[in-house]
Symmetry: C2
Subunit: 348 residues, 2 copies
DNA sequence: GTGAAAGCGCTAACAA
DNA sequence: TTGTTAGCGCTTTCAC
């Protein structure tokens, strides 16, 4: 346990400096020394101590990431994509979940900073309460927000273009003949909830459809079911279509509607949001807006490399346009012939 | 950027040693010094450097975890549970995905070791190919396997009791009247695939039901669908029930069967395995064996604290008994009255 | 091209 | 109780 570069140097009969140079290969050494050192290292089973290197280099090769919850398949997918991106450059991911609680989030941010991560990727759980901790962290280390973000635009962000997303969703159901559309989403404590609702309202106005009062709860299956029941309750004012804030809501909604005798998509079209995990699993397969997760992750990591804490520049906001994936919970367009599109990506 | 304990000491007019002692609170200092130091620290915005501390203490407060893929909801759930456990003791999680590839796994193991994690929790992707890397890692640092494990019992393990699980599943369908049962699982490159199949065979023998040739593919929805088609193909030898290696397979299977005109559970009972995420989402809700994920995580972390690399003791194997959750894809027992049980845990 | 030595930030002997 | 100092393992000047 614990063979150091000194041991290697001694075994190879050279100074630690030469051993270091030979091992890193970043500076010239005679071939003979290079040979002796690498042989000694192999024989002793030498493994460089990344902690010492980090102290010396003042960089850890580690990126911290905080998401509200790993249980949510959407965040999982982002984490996976980020992990994948980082691996390309030999960096590792220090992962934390804030459990949707700003106090936990702030604490985790502190420990990540203490561990001297080289950068931070975060999806802040609360649009207001997360502000101080996120801003403070951004002052110390490159930080980019992904998906959710704090209000005020004080830090870089990459996410989906909710306006484009909702325009596609609303446009699609309108093309299928819907005249009255309801949005079922989450209460407005996070940025996604807000921008999706406002995106919906703009899109409805533009498409000339009648937007009824939105139903706002949680990003959960349970809320989807409850929203479905709410819709069934006052049956006379049923919309022709429902656009949901995420797939979980949509799946719950579809189930509740069918249980209540409403046929989907014949009586009502339902569109989800995310297209990770659940969408293909459910029956019938969900028409939904696919989040460009892989691109978002790549963009976030790229952005991270550009941020310089020392010389702050105006915060960047990168909104990536998503794509509507038409499956079987929405009515085909009037002309006919809308058919399900297969997912390109497996569920791992 | 970079106020050190020296800065704090100077500002407080004391030595670094006193500053360190005051800050850690682990040794006696006069109240006055304690006061001056903590005030100085607060004013300067001092934040201890965990890297330096780690180098000095030869312990990082960090646990490495490697799972085959974060995309798989089962592994996600374990990761979440482990993260939760670790947080209780102020430790952080360094997360990696092996992408189901032994070579990637070995490489990630190396970097985790280089980062001097205090321990390792791993679900080795391949029962054979993962052996050398896992054994080597176990020699350097406390290591416990969770869920999957390598052959030969060279390292501690905690997972589900597959024998008990399959006995419950087979017993349940047998009680519902099934005489012929098929197992649909994964090819035998990982321990779970193997022990579930053998558990199934033992359980079938014990329950006196006729086990037809197992169908072995992947742990995916797609394979479930394909297996369903296979079953439909030679319709005359259809089993009364199918027990699946995980929920994804089960969901795919149910969908394929229904598409082929087979009613579930009236014509055939289907039982899944895992009960994370998908099981409640699908329609009808899946009868499945619930993995005791939270307990597994707690046990793994506890075990990690007991392992001493210096004095190896016989490897522990902890198999936790799971519970069958009866929902709506299986026929009620002859006497009648099997009804769905709600999940206690949300999908975050 | 190679070696000696300083120093990254911290804590724990060891002295005073 | 407090201060001085060594040293965790590494890389990189700075001389030679």
């Amino acid at each position: 346990m614990g063979v150091t570069i000194h041991d290697v140097a001694r075994a190879a009969g050279v100074s630690v400096a030469s051993a270091s140079r030979a091992l890193s290969g970043r500076r010239k050494v005679t071939p003979e020394i290079a040979e002796r050192v690498s042989r000694a290292a192999a024989e002793l089973g030498y493994q460089p101590n990344a902690v010492a290197k980090a102290l010396r280099d003042r960089t850890t090769g580690t990126i911290g990431m905080i998401v509200p919850g790993i249980g949510n398949p959407f965040f999982t997918t982002i984490v996976e994509a980020v992990e994948h991106q980082l691996q390309e450059t030999g960096r590792d991911l220090l992962l934390c979940a804030s459990q949707y609680r700003p106090d936990v989030e702030a604490r985790r941010l502190e420990t990540l900073l203490a561990r001297r991560v080289d950068g931070l990727i975060i999806s802040p759980c609360d649009i207001e309460a997360s502000v101080p901790a996120v801003l403070n962290a951004a002052r110390r280390v490159p930080l980019v927000q992904v998906d959710r973000h704090i209000e005020g635009g004080g830090a870089d962000w990459v996410g989906v273009d909710d306006d484009s997303a909702l325009a596609q969703a609303v446009g699609h159901v309108a093309a299928g003949g819907a005249r009255t559309v309801t949005f079922v989403g989450s209460r407005l404590m996070n940025s996604s909830a807000r921008s999706r609702l406002s995106g919906f309202e703009r899109a409805a106005a533009r498409a000339g459809v009648n937007a009824t009062a939105p139903l706002l709860g949680e990003f959960t299956l349970e809320w989807g079911i409850e929203a479905g029941r709410l819709l069934l309750l006052d049956g006379e004012t049923m919309p022709d279509a429902v656009v949901c804030g995420n797939d979980e809501i949509a799946v719950g909604l579809v189930r509740a509607l069918r249980a209540g005798g409403v046929r989907v998509p014949d009586d009502m079209s339902v569109v989800g949001f995310d297209d990770v995990g659940h969408a293909t699993m459910c029956d019938p397969p969900l028409t939904t807006v696919r989040q460009p997760v892989e691109e978002m992750a790549a963009e976030a990591v790229r952005l991270l490399g550009q941020v310089r804490v020392s010389d702050p520049r105006p915060a960047q906001r990168i909104a990536i346009a998503p794509r509507l994936v038409v499956r079987e919970t929405s009515r085909p367009v009037a002309a006919g012939g809308a058919n399900g599109t297969e997912m390109g990506r497996g569920t791992a």
